[in-house]
């Protein structure tokens, strides 16, 4: 009944997910209400997670949802709520300074150009490899085997950051 030789269901799903991601990202920038921006960020992150799932990187997708959409975004929303002292719909206005416009525009154009160039000039060979079945196990072996020192160092770094944050927040008692 349907013939999708060039345009498969997979592509349709990708377009939908990509659309949600880009719309979410645009929302983060364009919404005047910063709470809306923060919630748009959740949708962007969910979209990214969905792309991971589609690329057969389920573990990464789940972690993306768990950490970014579930925890980091909540942290952002909390921070925003704590810092809001203005009317909600005027919290994320575009800047009025021309210098900032110029700087932001330049960075955007440069990044877009580099991404387009990278995509355009790369060769995209088709692999015959199937998606790995046990991506979790392989990840674990890499993280706790080959890169264990980097992994543990990152863990210690985060721990130090947490302790530092607590000290900054509560202060040190002088005895």
């Amino acid at each position: 009944m349907f013939e999708f030789s060039a345009f498969s269901l997979y592509d349709a799903a990708f377009l939908a997910i990509g659309g949600v991601t880009i719309l979410g990202a645009l929302g983060v920038v364009l919404f005047r209400n910063i709470i809306y921006s923060a919630l748009s960020l959740v949708f962007t992150m969910l979209g990214v997670a969905a792309i991971y799932f589609q690329l057969n990187a389920g573990f990464l997708g789940a972690i993306q949802i768990l950490v970014y959409a579930g925890a980091i975004s909540v942290l952002i929303i909390f921070a925003v709520m704590l810092l809001m002292n203005k009317e909600a719909r005027r919290t994320n206005l575009p800047t009025t300074r021309t210098k900032a416009w110029f700087a932001g525009g330049t960075i955007t154009v440069m990044m877009l150009a580099s991404i387009i160039a990278a995509v355009g000039f790369s060769e995209w060979p088709k692999t015959a490899l199937q998606g790995v079945d046990n991506s979790v196990g392989m990840l674990a072996e890499l993280m706790l085997g080959d890169y264990v020192i980097a992994f543990e160092a990152a863990a210690i770094l985060l721990l130090v950051a947490v302790i530092g944050a607590i000290i900054l927040a509560k202060g040190v008692e002088n005895k």
Binding site: N33, Y36, L39, V42, L66, G70, A71, V74, A88, D133
Partner: protein, 346 residues
């Protein structure tokens, strides 16, 4: 009986292919059918569950519970549902209307997503995901966003207070929840729920992992915002927490999602610790239902026994007791597995 539903699914796919659909589209339609079935089951299930909770709580308090509508008051929830559907939908004028209206939808969608990976029987799941358990936990963490949206959108101090409480509580208890499941994952060596069920062929994980079972139960109670950890709703102090401003069907959606979460968490508990759909004599899909309802009854029992505890106690219990205990359990499990391999038992 055992293969009733799987056979039905195969027959449906075959029928669609004979109609001229390509196998991919047949799969997509089958997936949609599965979703519709799941949503129907959830809705019907919840009608029964609400009735059951009211009845069980009444029995705990030596009351009769609903007993007017139909035999044993079984139609009471249906009447309530009709009442909620016909109630006026009030959106507070000061509320952030977009967020206020999206929050219940987000909540119920996230709650229904949990059912994607739960094996409802032998070969019966929507998607046989490799990382099913992780997917379940990550989807569960998303409901905090919905509650935060509801609390913020209502523009009401009680709503916001409830939302903040529930977010703090859910994020804190996600850690012991995930850690408690880690012991099971270590033994079974997989995050796939069907594999975990298969690993319980000889012995249920509740016997191998009693500490993880308890930790999971406590953390799940807190994740569900159920009594005795129902501070986010706290009718007495917060007049309903994040749901304070909601009326009619929007409120009903929250209610629905809470019970959906309850069933999902109970089903996961039955799957991970109580042998899933495995069991003698009866078909597998009946076993998972029986076990899930057993776990739900225990949740009811706990809710209607213990009084609500204080918020700071709850938080310190999570960070100072549950997290170390679940970490210790992981250590113990690792040592056990190592010892087992060293002795050559497994």
């Amino acid at each position: 009986m055992e293969h009733l539903f799987t056979n039905l699914a195969t027959a449906l796919t075959g029928w669609m292919i004979t109609l001229g659909l390509s196998p991919v589209w047949a799969d997509v339609i089958l997936l949609l059918v599965k979703w519709i079935i799941i949503i129907t089951i959830i809705t019907l299930n919840i009608i029964i569950l609400i009735w059951l909770e009211r009845k069980v709580s009444a029995f705990f308090q030596e009351r009769l519970g609903p007993n007017r509508l139909g035999p044993f008051g079984i139609f009471q929830t249906i009447a309530d549902a009709i009442k909620l559907l016909t109630k006026e939908d009030i959106v507070p004028s000061a509320a952030d209307k977009l967020i206020f209206k999206t929050a219940p939808m987000f909540f119920i969608v996230v709650a229904v997503m949990l059912y994607t990976v739960i094996p409802m029987g032998q070969g019966m799941e929507v998607i046989n995901l490799n990382i099913g358990l992780l997917f379940f936990i990550s989807m569960g963490s998303l409901s905090t966003i919905a509650l935060l949206m509801a609390g913020w959108g209502s523009d009401n101090k009680w709503s916001l207070m409830g939302a903040v409480r529930s977010v703090a509580q859910m994020i804190s208890y996600e850690i012991p929840l995930a850690f408690s499941l880690l012991g099971v994952v270590m033994i079974s060596g997989s995050l796939n729920l069907q594999d975990i069920v298969a690993a319980q062929d000889n012995i249920w994980f509740v016997i191998l992992q009693p500490i993880a079972f308890l930790t999971y139960f406590i953390a799940a109670t807190a994740e569900l915002n159920r009594g005795p950890f129902d501070m986010p709703e706290a009718e007495q102090e917060l007049t309903g927490g994040a749901y304070t401003e909601y009326t009619g069907m929007r409120w009903a959606l929250f209610f629905l999602a809470e019970y959906t979460n309850l069933v999902a968490v109970s089903a996961l508990m039955a799957t991970v610790f109580l042998g899933g759909w495995q069991g003698p004599w009866l078909p597998s899909w009946l076993w998972i239902i029986i076990k899930t309802y057993g776990v739900i009854l225990v949740f009811f029992w706990v809710k209607w026994t213990f009084p609500r505890i204080r918020m700071d106690h709850l938080m310190s219990f999570s960070w100072k007791v549950l997290v170390p205990v679940s970490l210790g359990n992981i250590l113990l499990t690792g040592a056990g597995i190592y010892f087992c391999q060293w002795m050559g038992w497994c």
